[in-house]
């Protein structure tokens, strides 16, 4: 009897456990459901999403941002995605603004990946931690090139490395991305690059034409004019490994034999160039909402109309999404202490 009663009780309690369990499961599922796509995508209905661009209107960042914003709006039904330019301090003000915004999904934005150097070196004014941003995706990978002037005696990158005299390289200024890259490549490859700061914008290319400097480095999209006009010969490419017509015979930095320490440095340079035209959101965003944004971003970047629009403006695309970008960023910043020390010594 006793046993029976107990059994009944147990059965009863099992029953109630079961009911409670089902109830809990259902409610969990409901909560989970609320956090997942369908419920949270409705959050954006009638809302305005601000896409912050850390430069002024008209430039490359602005053009990519307007393209991405237009198509993200398409995949966040009922929403309005507006672009707001917050330039200042070489993208720092914009990045600070995105970082400090409420993580409700209504503020996202873009800035230069070169800020990785700024964070590693503890640059003045930085109020963000790139590790903590909620990464949504990136639209392009940058192929970068080292170009020698057409009239210089250098034919290959090896020739530059063998040079007895320092190779003067134009740079826009101490602390700028091209300046840092020049110094890192000089130390890692090694090659006797000597940056000459003070060349702003297109002045660097003019310096090649005038023969003031034998070589220049920069993004392929920035320098292809020189290559097309046969005024410069590309001798090395780094950053993205995507095949670019015309650069088939130019060796990639990844095929060079390097010491492990040098390889680490080069990997950092590559990583920063690969995360091009990124989109990020403030840290601490609810997982569900971030998922919706990532999803909309992915749908936008794979939309055939976006691809057509990008082609019309000659904007290259090489997108990556969510987690993958988060990992790329983390890998570039979270370097072992000795690497960081070496970097600081090189760039300083």
């Amino acid at each position: 009897m006793q046993g029976n009663k107990e059994e009944i009780v147990t059965t009863k309690s099992r029953c109630s456990f079961f009911v409670v369990g089902v109830f809990l499961f259902l409610s969990f599922a409901a909560t989970f459901d609320a956090a997942a796509a369908p419920a949270d995508i409705s959050f954006f209905k009638g809302k305005t999403v601000t896409y912050i661009v850390s430069t002024k209107t008209g430039g490359g960042y602005d053009t990519y941002a307007r393209l991405v914003a237009k198509y993200m709006q398409k995949y966040l039904p009922g929403s309005k995605v507006i672009v707001k330019n917050v330039p200042g301090a070489g993208h720092i003000v914009g990045a600070n603004t995105i970082y400090a915004a409420a993580p409700d999904g209504l503020t996202i934005g873009t800035f230069n990946t070169g800020l990785v150097y700024g964070q590693i070196l503890g640059q003045e004014g930085i109020q963000f931690d790139l590790n903590k941003f909620s990464w949504i995706g990136k639209a392009n990978s940058e192929t970068r090139v080292v170009i020698v002037g057409a009239k210089t005696p250098y034919k290959t990158f090896k020739d530059l490395q063998d040079s007895k005299v320092p190779i003067k390289m134009p740079s826009s200024g101490v602390g700028s991305e091209d300046h840092n890259e020049t110094l890192i490549l000089a130390a890692a490859l090694p090659v006797k690059f000597q940056p000459i700061p003070g060349y702003s914008g297109k002045e660097a290319e003019m310096a090649i034409l005038r023969g003031e400097v034998p070589a220049v480095l920069g993004s392929y999209t920035g320098l292809y004019g020189l290559i097309l006009a046969k005024e410069g010969r590309p001798v090395l490419q780094y950053g993205s490994e995507n095949k670019i017509p015309g650069l088939e015979n130019v060796p990639h930095i990844n095929s060079m034999k390097l010491s492990p320490a040098s390889r680490n440095m080069v990997n950092l340079v590559n990583a920063i160039d690969i995360i091009g035209r990124l989109t990020a959101a403030p840290p601490g965003m609810p997982a569900g909402r971030l998922e919706v944004l990532r999803d909309a971003y992915k749908k936008a970047l794979t939309d055939p109309d976006l691809i057509k629009d990008a082609k019309k403006s000659s904007l290259d695309l090489d997108p990556a999404y969510g987690e993958e970008v988060q990992k790329l960023v983390a890998a570039s910043i979270n370097q072992p202490a000795e690497n960081l020390k070496m970097l600081r010594d090189i760039i300083k």
Binding site: G90, I196, M206, L209
Partner: protein, 500 residues
């Protein structure tokens, strides 16, 4: 003979269908973009380039250049009427343009600005066609040492712009230099004069300063004085004065021709920039004028010089883009993107295989400049009337237009504060008789001079001074400084002897 064939082929291309129609479509866009501060030619190009997809190269460039050629033509209009430059290079137009409006000569200023823009633009295009054979040595002869010397030549103009007191002018110019140093120093990576304000790390934009120094300062002045911009002046010239302005351009044809040439030359050499071109021409006008005492108070020659410069530079800016694939300005950098969309490679082949395309661009520049002015001139008279409105009507208008312009140029709210600050400084300068031109000149030239000096020293050491062109420019500068001193001295000596 081959060249003439290309000239005619280019003409046929530019006047053909649909190229001509496309150009007509984008000219008004260029004018409006120019008039609204903050919307420059760069943004215009970025917006228009997607539409060129699928066009043939001739039509594509007609479409883009039609807009880009006339941006500064539009930009002079708010500079004259509201003391707010539509684009950076139009800043120089404010110096004489607005004082003319204050004298009741807004129509004349507009007429002169528009006509000289047109002539400058047309001449710039023609010069561009003429220098094609010698473009390489000409453009490449100017490097950082020469930029430094050119900047120093500009600095020598401070003495001319100073008005009554050279000392005050030098103080203003020095202040301008210091302001140009605000922000990140490329040589050391250290931020200067930012007082910890992040937005100052990028430096201070020239439009932000000009709107404050001129527009806001004038508003303060007007508020304290009462009356319209052209207070107490009835339109004393026949009609609106627009035709008088047009005539002025022809009576000063020699100045117009020289400034068109200077503007085009400066634009051909990437590195100095359009802002500097307009100011150097202004300085040149001052140096050669017979009416020095009228400058700063609304002299039509100043308007002619600056406006010829900023439109002629569009032709010049195309040259390095076409010849070397190196854009002469940020606008040209965007245009270079269009080359890819349109499937044309810049470089030497441009001048051998695609010479007809080059000439079609020359023709587009010519037509666009003429058509733009044909659109604006008939409207100039009505636009000028705005300056005769009561102060109480004008002040809010100028103030909101100016502050909006300052904000739109940089998209930074904080820059409105800087503009207001410079408004107070500008009013003080006006009241205590400090010329404001030298301060602006200092800002425009400071950064160029500093960078060029550093780069020259690291490339050549002190011997950069002895590079041939650099030393010639230095000699000219020294002569312009010391010749008047010598003249004054000789005159004094003569008088002394006569007295004896």
């Amino acid at each position: 003979m081959e060249v003439w064939d290309a000239v005619w082929a280019g003409f046929a291309g530019a006047t053909g269908w649909p190229a001509f129609g496309l150009m007509l479509m984008t000219i008004p866009i260029g004018l409006v973009i120019g008039m609204i501060p903050g919307l420059g030619g760069n943004l215009g190009l970025a917006l228009l380039i997607p539409f060129t997809f699928g066009m043939d190269p001739t039509s594509g460039f007609a479409f883009l250049l039609g807009m880009h050629a006339v941006v500064h033509t539009g930009g002079s209009i708010p500079a004259i009427l509201f003391d707010t430059p539509g684009t950076g290079p139009n800043a120089a137009t404010c110096i004489e343009g607005f004082p003319m409006a204050q004298k009741g000569e807004a129509g004349r200023a507009l007429g002169a600005a528009l006509t000289s823009s047109m002539v400058g633009g047309v001449l710039g295009a023609i010069f561009m066609a003429m220098v094609i054979p010698i473009v390489r040595p000409m453009v490449l002869a100017f490097g950082p040492p020469e930029f430094f010397m050119l900047a120093m030549m500009g600095v020598a103009f401070i003495s001319l712009m100073s008005g009554n007191s050279i000392l005050k002018g030098l103080m203003a110019g020095g202040m301008g230099f210091i302001i140009s140093f605000v922000g990140m120093d490329p040589q050391t990576g250290v931020v200067r004069f930012s007082f910890g304000v992040l937005n100052l790390m990028d430096g201070i934009n020239i439009v932000t300063v000009v709107v404050g120094l001129f527009a806001v300062a004038e508003v303060i002045d007007m508020g304290l004085k009462k009356g319209g911009i052209a207070h107490g002046k009835s339109p004393n010239l026949k009609g609106s004065g627009v035709m008088q302005g047009v005539k002025d351009c022809f009576t000063n044809w020699w100045l117009l021709l020289r400034c068109s040439l200077i503007g085009q030359m400066i634009a051909m050499i990437p590195g100095l920039g359009g802002d500097a071109a307009a100011f150097i021409c202004y300085g040149h006008a001052l140096q050669t004028t017979k009416r020095k005492n009228e400058f700063g108070k609304g002299c039509v020659e100043g308007v002619i010089a600056t406006d010829a410069a900023h439109n002629s530079k569009e032709g010049g800016g195309l040259i390095p883009t076409l010849a070397f694939g190196v854009p002469g300005s940020s606008g040209m950098a965007i245009l270079l993107g269009a080359f890819l969309v349109l499937g044309v490679s810049p470089g030497k082949e441009m001048f051998s295989d695609h010479l007809d395309l080059v000439f079609s661009m020359v023709w587009v520049l010519v037509f666009a400049n003429i058509i733009a002015v044909a659109i604006c001139l008939p409207l100039a008279g009505s636009m000028a009337k705005i300056t005769f409105l009561r102060t109480s009507v004008m002040i809010p208008f100028i103030l909101s237009f100016g502050l909006l312009g300052s904000y739109l140029t940089t998209s930074r709210i904080s820059d409105i504060l800087i503009t207001v600050l410079f408004g107070v400084i500008g009013y003080g300068m006006k009241k205590f008789d400090y010329a404001r031109g030298p301060l602006i000149l200092g800002i425009v030239l400071g950064k160029i001079a500093e960078n060029a000096l550093h780069v020259s020293l690291s490339l050549y050491g002190m011997s950069f001074v002895f590079r041939p062109i650099a030393s010639v420019i230095l000699l000219i500068t020294l002569t312009t400084i010391f010749f008047p001193v010598y003249q004054a001295h000789a005159k004094k000596k003569k008088l002394m002897e006569a007295a004896k």
